[in-house]
């Protein structure tokens, strides 16, 4: 009996030691990146064009970001830390008026040519001083830049008109991808339908409305990257189709977000096979009113429309189905530059008593000559989450104050064309989404003539405050100016803010090393992402 016990003890000990020997390397191995495989992803819209300088939608940046490099970037694994990309180091002069960047040597574009400072200068000249006929969406975020110089092939210098608190962050924009100068010289709009980058992946194929594919760039300047052989996006505006793709393994990730109901269902079916990364989001959905048309030139009508939207109920109703969560002003609630809640509650449409708000809205409409309300066409983007859901909620809410809105969803390109480019709308759902909580990025759209000023309004006070806040290096002073500007926009109901978004990024557990930032624009290069075996 004792002999048996000894044998069992020895065997047990051997098994224990053996398993430790086997398991320990396996555990380490599990964290060792594996090479190969094509990342399959689902996306909710097709790109209006492929030029990120001219676009502002995830539909463009998610598809093409892996094909390009930027000067500097937000750390893929540690948002919002700024790290180098094409630039290895940079210096800011003590007076804050000169930014000098040193480029890596030996970076090659996918056509074989070398990336030099001339390409960076041509890229930023296009963004900051766009030639006529070329749109630059974020131009106003670079109003501090006086000129860009390329003294030698590996040095780029930005000379400023005034010190800017936001500039370094704005230079880390994922949208500012570096284009080869020779193509820009030929046609500044060349990259709307062509791709020549220096990123970790090379362009493989694109079928409009269906798929977009990239393949590994063997000459990528970061050693041993990327891990993946390629990536492939499946495009579908239907949430249920993308959810089905995730469930069936036809797609392994949806970078933007999935509504909670879908997340629950996917989790229930796939269990540990999937991972959900919940983050806040630096994006807000709202409504632009075309103030060049009647009746939206009338402040009473605009105020009535913002008062007619019960944001607190919207948050309760829309969070589970459309990920729209937080009530806030023009800067993300809880962040450095946001207006405090106590102040926000005093602004039109932010009071918690919805009945009182509606009564005031009806009074204003009657005073403006619309005692029975009026009919209006509410244009929208045909992307269900969260555009359509938010649009339906707005239509329902406005019925309560006598506004009969005809909801008209449009394809992404038509929505941008009508809303942003031509102003062919009365009211339109739009989103304000940026890769950082920066006032320059979030507030430029309220200035006169800005590309993103969909409402087409102009208020010199706003222009002045925007210009002053961008120069303010003292954070407290900047916050005061930002809040003052926000108050003018909201008190005059120049824009109707809706709700701030939240992200629930669902992906298969085998997709490794992707850390979801609070936006779906940065960390889309996929150079560090790898796929484990099932």
């Amino acid at each position: 009996m004792r002999r048996h016990r000894t044998i069992i003890a020895v065997v047990g000990l051997c098994v224990l030691i053996g398993s430790l020997v086997v398991v320990a390397p396996a555990a380490v191995q599990a964290e060792t990146p594996r090479r190969g495989g094509v990342l399959l992803a689902a996306i909710a819209a097709d790109a209006p064009s492929l030029d990120p300088h001219q676009e502002q939608t995830f539909a463009t940046i998610e598809l093409v970001a892996p094909l390009y490099s930027t000067l500097i970037q937000i750390d893929p694994l540690s948002y919002p830390k700024i790290i180098g990309d094409a630039a290895t180091e940079w210096k800011i002069a003590p007076d804050g008026l000169t930014y000098t960047f040193k480029l890596r040597q030996g970076i090659r574009f996918h056509d074989g040519s070398t990336l030099t400072s001339a390409d960076v200068k041509a890229t930023y000249d296009k963004i900051v001083f766009p030639p006529s006929g070329v749109r630059s969406i974020r131009k106003n975020a670079y109003s501090a830049i006086a000129s860009i110089e390329a003294p030698d092939p590996t040095t780029v210098v930005f000379l400023l008109k005034f010190p800017s608190a936001s500039l370094l962050g704005n230079l880390a924009s994922p949208w500012n991808v570096i284009f080869p100068k020779k193509y820009l010289d030929r046609d500044p709009n060349y990259f709307k339908s062509n791709v020549v980058g220096s990123g970790p992946f090379k362009f493989k194929s694109y079928t409009r409305g269906s798929t977009f594919e990239g393949e590994r760039n063997p000459d990528y300047f970061v050693k041993d990257r990327p891990y993946l052989d390629g990536y492939k996006f499946f495009i579908s505006t239907e949430t249920s189709v993308r959810a089905a793709a995730l469930r069936s393994g036809r797609a392994w990730i949806e970078f933007r977000t999935m509504p909670l109901a879908e997340v629950e269902a996917i989790r229930k079916q796939l269990g540990d096979k999937v991972v959900v990364q919940d983050t806040a989001a630096t994006g807000q959905f709202g409504i632009a009113m075309n103030q060049t048309t009647k009746p939206f030139a009338d402040i009473r009508v605009r105020k009535a429309l913002t008062l007619g939207l019960d944001r607190y109920t919207a948050s309760r109703v829309l969070y589970p189905i459309a990920s729209l969560k937080d009530v806030g002003g023009l800067m993300r609630p809880g962040t450095e530059f946001a207006t405090p809640e106590s102040e926000l509650l005093k602004l039109p449409g932010f009071g918690r008593d919805s009945e009182k708000n509606r009564a005031e809205a009806k009074r204003l409409l009657a005073e403006a000559g619309y005692p029975n309300g009026f009919k209006v066409v509410l244009k929208n983007r045909n992307v269900r989450v969260p555009y359509i859901d938010f649009g339906v909620f707005v239509v329902q809410e406005w019925r309560k104050i006598g506004i009969e809105a005809e909801h008209r969803p449009l394809e992404t390109a038509a929505w941008f064309a009508d809303g942003r480019d031509t102003g062919s709308f009365e009211v339109i759902i739009n989103g304000v989404f940026n890769y950082m909580d920066d006032p320059d990025l979030f507030l430029e759209r309220y200035t006169t003539g800005d590309t993103n000023n969909w409402g087409r309004f102009s208020d010199p006070r706003i222009d002045d405050l925007f210009a002053r806040q961008t120069r303010a290096l003292d954070p407290a002073e900047r916050k005061r100016l930002v809040n003052e500007m926000e108050k003018i926009v909201l008190e005059n109901a120049y824009h109707i803010p809706g709700l701030w978004w939240a992200r629930s990024v669902v992906h298969w557990a085998k997709v490794k090393n992707y850390v979801a930032p609070p936006n779906h624009y940065s960390n889309q290069k996929l150079q560090d992402v790898w796929l484990s075996e099932d």
Binding site: E238, S240, E264, V317, I321, R384, Q396, R399, H407, P409
Partner: protein, 300 residues
């Protein structure tokens, strides 16, 4: 001489034929075509819901009870509520309006234009017939729904555009059937007689040919109604029909319904049943009407 005798005979039988009341015709239809009668009951039910939706619907189809998202079917909400807390039953009742509006107008426009083209084609013959028939061949080359999809995507999503998109593919189908009937009517002696009496082409077509091709026209109209309702649902399902929050059956089936199929199956189930029932009703009625009006299929 023989012509005169035939005409006189036709006229005599017309005067001697016993005239039946609507009730008698309906009773005979129910007795001989019970399935068709069932179809008629479904159609009348839909019509009743559509006309009196405002009175019958227990809730506003556009305004949701935000505290009752995804409520199960209950005494308060017989068909449950959707993701915005809107009553599914009320939305189905209002949805009958859109289904019938689109179904009726699309079929009526498509069938009427088709019938007119068919008659003109048959009566004129020659180059006009050749040209119109080749045009119909081109339209017939596309499957009905695919053509409607193409037209709807060009026109953009709106109810009136759905009517146009659905009616155009109907035109060649009806034109073919009516042309065949008109060709046969055209050869009748009474047509020759009025032509000989110097009647204008317009008069011959309007007074002598069209009244005699109404049977195939009505049959096609009824048959296309069901197809049009289904096409409206399909176009709305594909995002080319009415836009949310319009209570359209097809739209209720698409939209967010597939996303909540597990959590709240009633959101998709009841509109699905409504579409099936509506199309089934029109098809049953259309088939029976064809049997009743087609002399070759009529018994006794």
């Amino acid at each position: 001489m023989a012509t005169n005798i035939e005409l006189a005979h036709a006229s005599a039988s017309a005067t001697l034929a016993p005239r039946r009341s609507f009730a008698e015709v309906a009773a005979r239809f129910v007795r001989t075509k019970p399935l068709g009668a069932a179809g008629a009951v479904i159609i009348l039910g839909m019509l009743f819901l559509a006309v009196f939706a405002q009175i019958l619907a227990p809730y506003d189809p556009y305004v949701g009870d935000y505290g009752l998202q995804f409520a199960r079917p209950s005494a308060e909400h017989w068909f449950g509520t959707d993701e915005f807390g809107r009553d599914v039953l009320s939305r189905i009742m209002y949805g009958a309006r859109i289904a019938l509006f689109v179904g009726f107008f699309a079929s009526f426009i498509g069938c009427t234009i088709g019938a007119l083209l068919g008659v003109v084609s048959a009566y004129w013959g020659g180059r006009v017939d050749l040209l119109l028939e080749r045009l119909m061949d081109i339209l017939l080359a596309f499957p009905q729904l695919i053509l409607a999809l193409a037209i709807a995507s060009i026109l953009g999503p709106a109810v009136q555009n759905v009517v146009i998109a659905i009616s155009i593919p109907v035109i060649p189908r009806v034109a073919r059937v009516v042309r065949a009937a008109a060709l046969s009517v055209k050869e009748n002696v009474y047509v020759e007689a009025v032509q000989a009496l110097g009647a204008s082409r317009r008069r011959v077509i309007l007074q002598h040919i069209i009244p005699n091709v109404t049977a195939p026209y009505i049959i096609m109209l009824t048959a296309q109604l069901g197809a049009a309702i289904l096409a409206e649902a399909a176009l709305s399902y594909l995002g080319l029909g009415a836009a949310e929050p319009t209570p359209s059956w097809g739209l209720m089936l698409s939209g967010s319904a597939p996303s909540y199929a597990e959590k709240a199956p009633w959101i998709a189930l009841f509109p699905g049943i409504a579409i099936s029932l509506g199309v089934f009703g029109f098809n049953l009625f259309g088939d029976s009407l064809r049997d009743a009006l087609d002399p070759k299929l009529r018994k006794g």
